[in-house]
Structures are given as structure tokens and as C-alpha cells.
């Protein structure tokens, strides 16, 4: 069986397209190299998931979009997510292209950069060249290679040394056409002793839109810096989402992941932190809701290299109807990473007899002088809790909702933008079949 990714471009087409985007030579060569790899590498191994049976082969055709002059004519779904006026920064990708970018004047003056990745490769060539594909490498597997060859649009967010940004930077990725390429690459670079919060939303405009979202998020956290990345995915039933998120954290830096997997279609995500520096910190919180006959694979990983580094991972999944979830947590502590602490929890709540859930906590520890722990559970809504709530006059459906919402609350409450947080609450209600 042919298990390689099929890509819709040959090398000549790719060179021509990249040149037309005015990309520098080195980037064209990296794309071409990745395209060749895509034809030879195999699909990634995803625990207990037969990825080769998913709609994961077609990368889609690049679809050019005209830039938006403002948000007045933006689709309602976009306007609903955006706080007006934009405080920090906003970037919107529509299908294959970024169509709108706005960064507050005060941030621009401080040297913060927010732009699509094609533009960044031209205007901030040294920075992009230094970091692009250094966390998620094209060599890893065919989907990573296909992404590296064909990504379009994307985000470059750079915060210089010592700059602390309070207002979150927001990104929206909107897809409204089947068969198009939808492969944004997000590159976030935070200099030493800086601080930034990034919130994105990946969304389909209708539930019958069929594409592959092959997305990558790379985050580089400088010495002593703090980066928060919040992401909500709400893609269509017919869309397959394959997303790799990865952070490299230097000494005394910290990354915080807040992820809501609210897709209606097949989803495989991997959110990983490499704790490179001594005293580095990673905190990952993931919630997922599965409905219909969805298959979900959510993996969180923390790999400790630095001494006294600390990782915490929490995943909570609610499975309805005939949905299946494989929840993996992998804590890896390398030899020499003394005094580390790695903790993880995976919990799956099943709301129907046909829903399936599997929580796999994995600790791989090559150093003696560390602390690590895990907890995992798969179960149903606690009947005692429902009885207790109902005994106060609350209806069964409301009681179940309170318990489920309470189960997901620790992640929802952490979303830094009010608009995105309340939208996530609405999405959760919808996914739970309440509206």
C-alpha cells in the first residue's frame, strides 16, 4: 500500500510558486528538499491510530485570496471572535493566504514583529532562517515533510529581548472552500526576558468543507521569557486536522499551552515541549470533545534536558455518541536532567455506551534524581454527583451539563481573550449537543 503523502505539486511547480511569492533562495531550496522527502518518508506513527486509513493524503491546491482592507466585510464568524478595537495584534488567514494583519503602533515601535511567514522570510530573513523548521523538522515523517514543502500564509511573531507584551496577539485561520491547501505555519520567537501571549482559532465556515489541515506551530522561548499559546480548533466534520505544536524552552523560560480540540472531524494533535534549559517550565492544558463517529488522538509530551526543569500536562476529554479518543501523555527525562519534575494527568469522560476512550500515561526516565508522576482515568459521569445536583431541583440534563462543564472548566477559564473564551464556551455547548 502506498502510505506516503500525495502532494499536488511537482518540483518545478513548487519552485515557480515559491518564486512568485518572492521567497528567498534558501527557502525555495528547503521547500524542494522537503518535497523530495515527502515522497520517500512514511506517515507518522500515532499510538493506537491507523492514520493510513484517514483522509490525510491530499495536501490541497493553493488558493490565492485578496487582502482585506478592513474587518468590516469579514465573515461574521471572524468579527465575532475579534475584540474591537484590536489591542495587541491580529492576523487572519483565509484559506491559503493571510488577508489581514494589524499590529498596534506601540508594539511595532518596541520592535515586535507580526506578519505572514512569506513576508517575514523576505523582511526578517536572518531570524526566519535561523528558527524555521528547527523544532518540527521536515525529516520526521511524510506529513511533516509535506507541510514544510507546501505551507502557505502562516504567522511570524517576534518579541525582542526584554519586551513584555500584555495584550494578546490573536490569529484566525478560516477555511471556506473544499480541496484547498490549508497548511499554516506559525513561528513564534520570544527573545530573552520577554513576555507574550498568542491566541489562535482555526475554523471552517461550514461543516461539509473537506480539506486537510496540516498545521505546525513552532515556539522558541528565550532565556527567562514567558510565552503563552492558546489554540482552539473548530474544523468541519469532513476536514481532517493534523497539527503539531512544539516549543523549545531555554533556561528559566516558560511555555504555557492551552488547547481546545473542538473539531467535528478526525483529529490528531501532538503538543510537545522540549525543556532545553536549566530551570525551564512547561505547562500544557488540553481539552477535547468528540461527537458523532469522530476519532481523536491527542498527545502531550514533555522532554526534559535541562536540570531542575518542570513540566505539567493535563488533558481532559469528553466523548459522546460513537466518538473515540486516544489520549497519550509522554514525559521523557533525559540522563543528566537532575532535579526535574514531570507530572501528567489524562482523564476521559464517556457520555455514551458506544463512545470509546483510552488514556495512556507514559514516563520514560533516564535519570535517578528526579520526581515524576502520572494519573489517568476513563469513566462515566458520576451518578452520585448527578443525584446530588438533581436533589436540589436541577434537571438531569442541566446536572450533567454542570458536571461536564466543571470537568472542562480548568482549561476554559485559562483562555486569555474574553471573546475567544466565551466563544469556546459556546462551542463546548454545541459539541455537547445543547444548542
Amino acid at each position: 500500500m502506498d502510505i506516503q503523502a500525495r502532494v499536488s505539486m511537482n518540483v518545478d511547480d513548487l519552485r515557480a510558486w515559491s518564486s512568485a511569492k518572492d521567497e528567498p533562495r534558501w527557502l525555495i531550496e528547503r521547500r524542494v528538499h522537503a518535497l523530495e522527502l515527502a515522497g520517500t518518508l512514511e506517515l507518522p506513527k500515532v499510538e493506537k491510530i491507523k492514520l493510513e486509513k484517514w483522509d490525510i493524503y491530499e495536501s490541497g491546491d493553493y488558493k490565492a485570496e485578496n487582502a482585506w482592507s478592513g474587518l468590516e466585510d469579514a465573515p461574521e464568524v471572524v468579527r465575532g471572535l475579534v475584540a474591537s478595537p484590536v489591542k495587541g495584534g491580529l492576523i487572519v488567514q483565509f484559506n491559503s493566504d493571510v488577508v489581514y494583519t494589524k499590529l498596534s503602533e506601540s508594539l511595532a515601535v518596541q520592535g515586535v514583529i507580526l506578519t505572514d511567514l512569506h513576508t517575514a522570510a523576505k523582511e526578517h530573513e536572518e531570524l526566519v532562517k535561523r528558527y524555521l523548521f528547527q523544532a518540527v523538522k521536515p525529516e520526521e515523517h511524510s506529513l511533516s515533510a509535506a507541510h514544510s514543502a507546501l505551507w502557505s500564509g502562516g504567522v511570524f511573531l517576534y518579541v525582542p529581548d526584554g519586551v513584555e507584551v500584555e495584550a494578546p496577539i490573536q490569529a484566525i485561520f478560516l477555511n471556506d472552500t473544499s480541496g484547498v491547501r490549508f497548511a499554516p505555519h506559525i513561528l513564534i520567537v520570544a527573545g530573552s526576558n520577554s513576555k507574550i501571549s498568542y491566541v489562535d482559532h482555526c475554523i471552517s465556515s461550514r461543516d461539509d468543507i473537506k480539506v486537510l489541515h496540516n498545521g505546525v506551530v513552532e515556539v522558541f522561548v528565550g532565556v527567562g521569557s514567558k510565552v503563552q499559546v492558546a489554540s482552539v480548533h473548530q474544523l468541519a466534520t469532513a476536514t481532517t486536522d493534523f497539527t503539531q505544536r512544539r516549543a523549545v524552552v531555554l533556561a528559566d523560560g516558560g511555555v504555557e499551552w492551552i488547547v481546545g480540540e473542538m473539531n467535528n472531524g478526525y483529529t490528531a494533535s501532538d503538543t510537545k515541549t522540549l525543556l532545553q534549559g536549566n530551570g525551564s517550565i512547561s505547562d500544557a492544558k488540553v481539552i477535547a470533545i468528540g461527537s458523532g463517529d469522530q476519532k481523536l488522538s491527542c498527545t502531550t509530551q514533555a522532554q526534559h534536558f535541562g536540570r531542575s526543569s518542570v513540566s505539567q500536562m493535563i488533558t481532559r476529554a469528553v466523548m459522546r455518541e460513537e466518538a473515540t479518543a486516544i489520549i497519550n501523555g509522554i514525559t521523557k527525562i533525559e540522563k543528566g536532567a537532575t532535579h526535574c519534575d514531570g507530572q501528567q494527568t489524562e482523564r476521559v469522560l464517556m457520555l455514551s455506551p458506544k463512545a470509546r476512550g483510552d488514556a495512556n500515561p507514559i514516563l520514560l526516565i533516564d535519570e535517578d534524581d528526579v520526581t515524576a508522576g502520572h494519573a489517568a482515568s476513563v469513566g462515566q459521569v458520576n451518578a452520585e454527583q448527578i443525584y446530588y445536583l438533581m436533589s436540589r431541583g436541577i434537571s438531569r440534563s442541566e446536572a450533567e451539563y454542570l458536571v461536564i462543564f466543571g470537568f472542562l472548566a480548568p482549561v476554559i477559564s485559562e483562555i486569555p481573550l474574553e471573546g475567544v473564551r466565551s466563544h469556546l464556551q459556546d462551542v463546548v455547548e454545541k459539541k455537547l449537543g445543547r444548542s
Partner: protein
């Protein structure tokens, strides 16, 4: 006038019959206490009346103001005015005490007639103060990490805010120190009214020093075996249960398989 009428109630859990025909009638304004050693079916009576899913009612009849209680879902029983302060209240993470209380209050109001946030907070805070509860408890997750005594106070807070017609207190005194016992008892006494009936289930006389019952019943072997006035509770406290067993010819007071 509010009346809870229990006739020949039988109930089993996991196939084992615990209640073997309980008959009791309680009117508004009355406080009835059910006493008895462990394992005689007291808490089962409370759970069966509220409709706990594990307790199957196998016979008998219960009406609250002539409405058939046993036909109702748990939430409908609460809506009809029944309240059970539980021995072991559930902990529910992620749901704050105040969100829960407001949902419970609004559940018994018509849509569009929900309690305003300001009024709710004002009422909750004043009642919490009366129960000497830390105001911070309003924002904590429901019963999560509460001590035994804090959970019991929280049950009483719910009772006060929900203003039920009929209250069952299931071992509300267990795990309470003397100060907490007094506070809880004050909360109950303030709720005494000619329109409201109480059924207090307890091991010990000590709660009844603070809340004076009108009637005292002794439960053994899944039935009420003896009834009397407050003096019965005093005698049980002083002499234990052996004289009752002797009088009735009971050797093992617990519920046995038949």
C-alpha cells in the same frame, strides 16, 4: 398544611431488602426524630424518599401533600418541596458553590423570573454569615476540599436558600464539633415554621438538645419499632437501646437477609 405520608414503605439496595414496611406521617410545624443503632435502615429511608438511584422501592406509598412522591424523578421531588441534607454530600470540581446555588434557586423559578445576580449574592452572603461560613466558600468548587463540618454547613445553607416545604436531615450532626453543631442547629431552628415539616435522622441525642423534636421514633430491622415524645430520646441517651430490644424481644436490631 404540608403533610408527608409514608405507608408501608419497602426498599432494597443491590438485591437486599433494607426497609421492611415503614409507616410515618409528618405534618407541617412538626419535628420528628428517627433514632436507632447503625445498620437499621435510617439513612436508607432518607435516600429512598429522595429517590437515590441505587435504592429500589419495592412496595408501599409516599405522598407529599397528596402528590405521589415515588412517581417523581429526583429533581421533581425537590421541586415539589422536599429537601435532603445529605450525610455524604458529593464533591463537584469545576462548579463553584455560588453557580450551583443559583442554578438550584433558578430551577424552581419560571423562565424569565430568575433571581437577579445582585439579590442572589446579597442573600447568599447574609445566610453564609449567619452560618459563620467564610465568604470565600462561595467561590470554591462545590464541596471540593471542604472539611466534614464545612460540608454540613453548606447543606444547611442550601436548605435555607431553597426554602423547602419538607426537610430531611440525614446525620447532619456527624462530624460536627460542639460549635458547629450549635450553628447548624440554629440554622434549622430558624427554619421552623408551621408550614414546614422536619425529619431528623440521628444516632445521638446531642443534636436533640439543640433542636427539640415533637416526636421520637426508634428504627430497628428496617421498621419503626417504637415511638414517643422527646422523653424517649433522653431515655435512649441514658440507657442505650438494649431495653427497647428486650421489650420487643429483638436480639439483632440490624437488617437481616430474609
Amino acid at each position: 398544611m404540608t403533610t408527608l405520608k409514608i405507608e408501608e414503605l419497602r426498599s432494597k439496595i443491590e438485591g437486599k431488602e433494607i426497609l421492611k414496611g415503614v409507616t410515618l406521617e409528618i405534618h407541617g410545624g412538626e419535628i420528628h426524630a428517627i433514632m436507632g443503632p447503625n445498620g437499621t435502615g435510617k439513612s436508607t429511608l432518607a435516600s429512598a424518599l429522595m429517590g437515590h438511584p441505587k435504592y429500589e422501592v419495592t412496595g408501599g406509598k409516599v405522598t407529599l401533600d397528596n402528590e405521589d412522591l415515588l412517581e417523581m424523578e429526583v429533581d421533581e421531588r425537590a421541586q415539589a418541596g422536599l429537601f435532603l441534607a445529605m450525610q455524604y454530600p458529593s464533591e463537584i470540581a469545576g462548579v463553584t458553590n455560588s453557580d450551583f446555588l443559583r442554578s438550584a434557586i433558578n430551577a424552581r423559578r419560571e423562565e424569565g423570573d430568575e433571581i437577579s445576580l445582585i439579590r442572589f449574592i446579597r442573600e447568599m452572603e447574609s445566610k453564609m454569615k449567619g452560618l459563620e461560613m467564610n465568604p470565600e466558600f462561595a467561590h470554591r468548587y462545590l464541596n471540593e476540599g471542604f472539611s466534614g463540618g464545612e460540608k454540613k454547613r453548606n447543606e444547611i445553607l442550601q436548605m435555607i436558600l431553597l426554602e423547602p416545604k419538607f426537610v430531611i436531615l440525614d446525620e447532619v450532626d456527624s462530624g460536627l464539633d460542639i460549635d458547629a453543631l450549635r450553628i447548624v442547629a440554629n440554622g434549622v431552628n430558624e427554619m421552623r415554621s408551621p408550614d414546614r415539616g422536619f425529619l431528623i435522622i440521628t444516632h445521638y441525642q446531642r443534636l436533640l438538645n439543640y433542636i427539640t423534636p415533637d416526636f421520637v421514633h426508634v428504627m430497628m430491622q428496617g421498621r419503626i419499632v417504637k415511638s414517643g415524645g422527646p422523653e424517649l430520646a433522653h431515655r435512649l441517651e441514658a440507657e442505650g437501646y438494649d431495653w427497647v430490644k428486650e421489650e420487643l424481644g429483638i436480639t439483632d436490631e440490624t437488617v437481616r437477609e430474609v
